[in-house]
Amino acid sequence: MSEVPAKKKRKFELDPKLAGYKGVWVFVEHEQGQVHPVSWELMGEGRKLADMLGVELAGVVLGAPGEQSRQFCNEAMFHGADLCYLMADDILKDYRNEPFTKGMTDLVNAYQPEILLLGATTQGRDLAGSVATTLQTGLTADCTALTIDPDNRSMAATRPTFGGSLLCTIVTLNYRPQMATVRSRVMAMTERDASRSGRVIEHPLGMIESSIITKVLEYIPDAMQDKPQLAFADIIVSGGRGMKKPENFQLIWDLAKVLGAEVGASRPVVQAGWVDLERQVGQSGKTVRPKLYIAAGISGAIQHRVGMDASDCIIAINNDPNAPIFDYATYGIVGNAMTILPALTEAFRQKLAAVKKAG
């Protein structure tokens, strides 16, 4: 992004050569037979943009020939797509930069979408950066909001800047497609509707395996059992620097245990080594959207806020009445987290006992 402020209202005419670029595309990312949920989150967002523009929404599936890739196309329709572009080739069985970049750029050149959205995952970022450079177009990373500027039909992409202390809106005026990546869990997942359908357009990759230099020797799945799953947790109890010392963090774990919740943390606590990096919530950590988020001893700077703002209900405990977290929490408690956390644990325990008794 260019760090030069632009004029507020620009007179803008799209190059007639680019006027043929129509439609919104969402890259359907998959690995080991699973579509990454971020693709369906983006499909919901893509649907909104396509409706604002009055154009079609398409999914893009690159994968091995067969039933599975077809099924991914169907799922794309269920999540809101009008049609799906399918490139099926054995070469595309596993993600590799070179064939996926060629496949995606060929599709863009052949069918000319005006907007292309990808998940900001290791795969999506690898592909997006390569495709944007090959196509010589603009790409905005890690967007938190996407909309259409009614004045010129261009996409306005908002993202945090300066280490998450401010937001900026970025546009790509005279280049197409306009590309953006969005992190997992930033956009809400839309309802799946299995009655939807749409057409599938197949396009060949046109490469042979021997021409591709990089080979996948093996895929080693992570050991899942001991990895915290913050992104999809319904209840999260988080602690920050206000917990004072690592021993006090046990109070967070105690409450989480009663609630069957995941434990989260703010950046300073992770940097101090009190909890694992996987538990960091915020711009440089995980984005979460639980039904209940309890924040104890977290002041709530933007860096943390962008990671948990979408929670349904936020209870904040802080001894500083001016802590920024009280500006956006649902309920605020000014006080000592070391006495309030055990009281909450006990109150929730009683609630659970009452529910159990009532059957």
Binding site: C168, L292, G332
Partner: protein, 280 residues
């Protein structure tokens, strides 16, 4: 083996503050550091040099002050350093930046072939992770992003095997040199600068390249002109329309506070009550 490491000088974002009234960035006094993610790339390059021999060249594109970042990199053990600086680069987005860096690396290749280019996975100021892939595409190098481990390098066979972080697992990839590697954080730790290297770094004749020296002829590809993306506005996040409802009880007893907040929450958010009831 010749490894070029691309680094960037960035403001230490942990120390950036926003002015509470004007909502503008307070840059004064914010120290400039080497992008922390780039240090993992530099250390990995230095380790390969320790193991296989060769040369490590660090480059950066930035204002003249970025010289400090290069001298720091020399003190850690890099052999040579090039500062790519020109007013014409101002306002570059990631596409224009990758064009300039790729041109400079082509110039380096004229003197000594480059086997690998290393970068950090992203910077802490831009956070885009786009420049590495961009440089690889422009140089037609194989791209290996989010590399958590370099398993083996066989220079004579021009072959490298790495572990690459994927979603839900790790890909073991084999490819040919030359390649561009973006190094994942946390798998090594930057060494301390040795006394001889610190002296050498202070005296080292730094190469300073303007756009011509970097081999750039087409100025429509650099700086603001070469940047498809434009920032239309920068703003502070709006506070939510309603502040938190503050829970205060007369007794001041934490138990009463807890019971009050739960009953209020269950009334307003039946979805939370349902979620908790599931756990009974």
């Amino acid at each position: 083996m010749h490894i070029v490491v691309c680094i960037k000088q960035v403001p230490d974002s942990a120390q950036i503050r926003v002015h509470p009234v004007t909502n503008t960035i307070m840059r004064q006094g914010v120290p400039a550091i080497i992008n922390p993610y780039d240090l993992f790339a530099l250390e990995e390059a230095l380790r390969l040099k320790d193991k296989y021999g060769g040369t490590v060249t660090v480059i950066t594109m930035g204002p003249p002050q970025a010289e400090a970042a290069l001298r720091k990199a020399l003190s850690f053990g890099a052999d040579d350093a090039i500062l790519i600086t020109d007013r014409a680069f101002a306002g570059a987005d990631t596409l224009a930046t990758s064009f300039a860096l790729a041109s400079a690396i082509r110039q380096i290749q004229k003197n000594m072939p480059v086997d690998m280019v290393f970068t950090g996975k992203q910077t802490i100021d831009g956070d885009t992770a786009q420049v590495g892939p961009g440089v690889a595409k422009r140089l037609d190098m194989q791209l290996l992003t989010y590399v958590s481990k370099i398993v083996s390098v066989k220079a004579e066979a021009s072959e490298i095997v790495v572990e690459r972080r994927a979603e839900g697992g790790v890909q073991l990839l084999k490819t040919s040199l030359p390649c561009l590697v973006t190094v994942l954080e946390g798998n090594n730790q930057m060494r301390f600068a040795s006394m001889p290297n610190m002296f050498r770094a202070a005296r080292h004749p730094l190469k300073v390249w303007d756009k011509d020296a970097a081999g750039i002829e087409d100025i429509t590809k650099i700086g603001l002109k070469g940047s498809p993306t434009v920032v239309s506005k920068v703003f502070a996040p709006t506070p939510k329309s309603e502040r938190a409802e503050m829970i205060e009880v007369e007794s001041g007893d934490p138990r009463d506070v807890a019971i009050t907040v739960l009953s209020k929450m269950f009334t307003r958010f039946p979805v939370v009550e349902k979620e908790i009831a599931k756990r009974a």
